[in-house]
Amino acid sequence: MNEEKLIVETRDLCKNFGPTVALDHVSIKIYRGQITGLIGENGSGKSTITSILSGMQPPTSGEMFFKGKPHKPSSMIEGAKLGIGMIVQEQGTVPGISIAENIFLGSENKFGRVFINKAAMVKEAQKALDAIGFTGVDAGAPIESLNMQDRKLVEIAKTVYEDPEVLVVDETTTALSQKGRDIIYGIMRKMRDEDKAVIFISHDLEELMETCDTLTVLRDGVLITTLSKEEMDEDVIKRCMVGREMTGDYYRSDFSQPVSDEVVLKVDNITSGFGMLMNFSMELHKGEILGIGGLSHCGMHELGKALFGEMKLLEGEVVDTRTGDKVNSARGALLKGYGYVSKDRDKEALVLTASIADNILAAGYDKLQKGLFLLPGDTKKYVNGLVDELSIKCASPAQDVQYLSGGNKQKVVFAKWVGRNCDILVLDCPTRGVDIGVKAAMYQLIDRMRRDGKSIVMISEELTELIGMCDRLLVLKDGQLAGEFTHAGGMNENQIIDVMI
Amino acid sequence: MKKVIALLLALVMVFALCACTPKDPNVGPASNPGTETTPGGEQPGGEENPPAANVPLDGSWPEETVKIGVEAFDTTDESFMGVMEYFDYLGDYFNVEFIVSEALNAPEDEFAFIDNCAAAGCKGIFGYYNIAGAEAIKHCTSQGMYYWGNEQYYPDVADDPLYVGTYTFKDMSDENGKNGDYMAGYELGYAMASAGLKHIAMCNGGAVIGVQMFLDRQAGVLDGIAAAQAEGSETRFDPATDIVEGFPGDSYFAKQAEILAGDYDGMVTTFDAFTWFQPIIDSGKDFKVGAIGTVSDSYKAFVDNGTVISLVYDCGEVVFGSVFADLVNAATGHADLTRGADGKALLNHTQRWVLSSAEDFNAVYEKHITDGEYYITAEEMAQVLGGVNPDATVDDVMALFDMSLEDALSK
């Protein structure tokens, strides 16, 4: 590689959080005119590198060089001034102010030191939006006029407006619509073509292989390898990430067994109050994994909520055919043996500031209750059993959930329902933001539940996992059923995509 | 383990608290007396105290400081401050100290204040204000402190040896005599309705929220007006439309504006009238005010210019002088001087002054404010204290504070 193009270099970068080693002597080089991908399981240290680079936190030891000079930013603000722009997953926009004000948050001085020239700000913001190809919005409008995915684009516009020389995109794409993804891919390519550097962090292998010029794999804080475009191969990358051969049974293997005819749940022509879902009917069989796929706004997440009695239905009903009762409240669903894993894990599935034990117990009180009391011995046994069974990595079940990694958080959510021994599980994006190792474990768990006769509805935006796991797949488009696929009839990715779009 | 320790600690604390609670209500700083206080009888304290004829009035007597707690509802109220100034003045002559509460708005505040006084070693409580009624008095005496004040609860507590008296404006020969607040309202209402005004309004203060003092005053005002009307006064007053309720606030000011804009030419208030003066000036009207208030700078200009034509005035030393005499007598071993002929606590008959001319007002103003003097001097006070004057009698005490405006002005 042409060393003149070197823009960022780290030498023996280390970062410890107490006894945990997040980065272990990582030396990496980032070049201009390239999109450098970073991949690794959760906790492998990829976000730690970029957060140190941007000034969010200092390294424990090691050196950094930016444009040949030692680089020690004391804050993100300083990092941004030097020319390192970051688009991160969680940051977000500020509600209550306009789009333009969000774009120039913290840099209002451009438009006056005391008095702000509002018109000029809106005009400039409009330019910033146009520059990333996000058109058709009024920069003076309140940020609330945009949906969550479009608000992400406002953040991107803000970062790009500052014209960074190094752009870090950290797992942003999962929060974006297809339109947003296209915009961000476009920005990355454009920056590369302008001879700037891009660092792209993602869980999505396919996306990385398609976009990146080189791909660096990290594992447990150690740089494993850097692959050039030609060397990128899915199996190789996975092997590097996990540090072992992935077993063949990544997904389930036995699709030969016929699914029982017994219908456990029936959805009769429902139209939801929110989202796209309308005129939708389906049946769920005992011992079946039913996949629900589609683009992110096709109404499938609303369907998940509807199955658990959590969605306002304007028409139609969800019926538990075993009892003949309607499912119209979460409490009712829970008592009938339903479980629900929400897509929005941190907000809807967990109490982040509560302990692992309390989170797991939350769905199990009625099972453990003896008269008016919960006996400490019972709860301890219950929680510890589940922590062991799902191998949740934690110091103790008393630890707060918020400090767990994404994969472990998801395991806690699963533990809630596994503990209740649910008969019907609705899983909305069960492997979202989860690293490969945990993913495999999840798939095995789901398959085991199926074999135990449980019925599972698996809603996912990842086609491969749907194809790999489901007996039957329903594809939604604009809120309505667009197609049905079975393994027997063949599940072809191209066919499915045709139906989706 | 930790839980067990915490439980044990909690138990220890509970026991400690129980142990601290006094079992005997008479155990307290002022250990008076089971001694039966026989009316006008011999002086049980006579031997304990030094022969009193040569007691110097330089703040060195009594030897041990007599601390007295004062329950107040508004420490910035001018009438109240007038009383406290008088006590300050007495403080130069006697070793007596007053501890004033914050503005009390709830029974629990009142109980807490009484407890604090007990802890601070107070000998007695002066109930200038009282929320919890006879309960507060019992709470005080059960901790061994004397209590003075609140005529309306007198029947409940008059036999309590630690309850030492209160004032009354009642004519004692009249069985159905009304209390002081009623009389203040009555005299004010009567005076205003007899002043030749066409249409008057009234501010009823705390009556709207059921404060007894204001209910009594309001009843008095209404009866006073009615009495004047019966005697031929043509002053109009309709309780349905002419009452400004409550204390200054949004709706109070709204009603005030309506009255100043209407055909009214005067008003009576059962508390001070300051919030009216500026609006009256702004309205440019000839508007008369009658109030229950005090002789102070705030009223002077408006008495002089004829706005305030009637002021019911509780002269601090006359109305509340007996507080000092009764509590100090009780605290220095002369509790007998606080008992009437029937063995009950003293009802000190006193007089409320109605200042209905600028001349009367200014006479009092000059005495109090210009000259800084009082109608009852420290020397006169000393004469009714058993510890200073062994010859003092209950009748002396009663006579000193029963002073009319005429008596005062001719002094």
Partner: protein, 336 residues
């Protein structure tokens, strides 16, 4: 399009006061209480609106960023007592009153703000403490006599014309501060997303101090108006000074709801007007004081209920459209 939007904004801004005014006007006339809302009534309405409006501005600037400032009542009391007495003794007239009271109120606001920023304790705790300190100073100053300036020529700020001029100037300044300066801009950013705003370099502490200073300024003006109207202010103890800001809540809530049509400060002032009309109207009809308190409380509750449920109205409409859409889709499928 733009003209239409401006028109709508003006209508929405003025609608509530006008409706409430007409409501009481008709109600008063129908019940035989003529003369509502004119003459003395109007003067009172304007005074109450101006006073409550100023206090509500002071309260809102901090409360909307999560800082409940309990000390503003005590700031008003202390600044007016001290500043008023200085102006009275120097004989500087209305200008002196305004100058000293506002300057002292601003200084007290600054002290509150600095104490908050330096100690970093919860605002409620700090401000209760500051309120007690200010009250104690007010009580010690001038032998607890407060200020009595009845009849003084400096008391001009409650006259209708003057108080309206004052209001217009204050609103203009506030609108500029809120919508066109870095202070207002940063305040809104901090209000919406404290952490994000701080991460991009907005100085939360500086902004908090500015807000406290502006709140002090407003309370100083409110003090001048209050003193002009009543001529006296007595010191309070035991947090009694909180009574000065008790009328600020309804205007603030109304301001929060209608702010999007004009500007937050203007909407707050409209809220104060609404409150003053309601007070005056109830008074006119001879509603007893205690019932008025109940009604006022109920109105605050109603506004809060509306505020936190107004989205449901939108939802109902949304559901209707959705259902129609679903039916249309069904017809279409059936037709095929």
């Amino acid at each position: 399009m733009k003209a239409k939007k401006i028109g709508k904004n003006i209508v929405m801004t003025l609608a509530l006061p006008v409706i409430v005014y007409l409501f009481f006007f008709i109600l008063c006339n129908a019940t035989g209480h003529a003369g509502f809302g004119v003459g003395a009534d109007l003067t009172t309405i304007i005074y109450n609106a101006v006073f409550a409006g100023l206090v509500a501005q002071a309260m809102a600037i901090n409360l909307t960023t999560g800082r409940f400032d309990y000390a503003i009542g005590a700031e008003l009391m202390l600044a007016t007592i001290v500043g008023g007495n200085i102006a009275k003794n120097l004989g500087w007239g209305p200008a002196g009153l305004l100058l000293f009271v506002v300057a002292i109120a601003v200084a007290l606001g600054l002290i509150s703000g600095l104490v908050y920023v330096i100690l970093g304790l919860p605002p409620m705790v700090i401000s209760v403490g500051m309120a007690m300190i200010y009250e104690a100073i007010g009580y010690m100053y001038n032998d607890a006599k407060g200020i009595k300036a009845i009849g003084s020529p400096m008391l001009v700020f409650s006259r209708t014309a003057n108080s309206l001029i004052l209001t217009v100037i204050v609103l203009a300044v506030l609108v500029v501060i809120y919508d066109y300066t870095k202070i207002g801009y940063n305040r809104r950013a901090l209000q919406g997303g404290q952490k994000i705003a701080v991460d991009v370099g907005i100085k939360e502490k500086n902004n908090a101090v500015y807000c406290y200073v502006i709140a002090g300024f407003m309370m100083g003006l409110a003090g001048c108006v209050y003193l002009s109207r009543n001529g006296v202010i007595a010191p309070d103890t035991g947090l009694g000074s909180s009574s000065y800001f008790m009328s600020a809540f309804l205007p603030m809530f109304i301001g929060g709801i209608f702010g999007k049509y004009s500007s937050y400060p203007i909407a707050i002032f409209m809220g104060a007007v609404v409150q003053a009309i309601i007070t005056s109207g109830l008074q006119k009809m001879g509603v007893p004081n205690s019932v008025q308190t109940v009604i006022n409380g109920a109105i605050v509750c109603l506004f809060l209920i509306y505020d936190s449920n107004s989205y449901k109205l939108v939802e109902v409409q949304m559901f209707k459209e959705k259902l129609a859409q679903a039916k249309a889709a069904r017809r279409q499928t059936a037709a095929q």
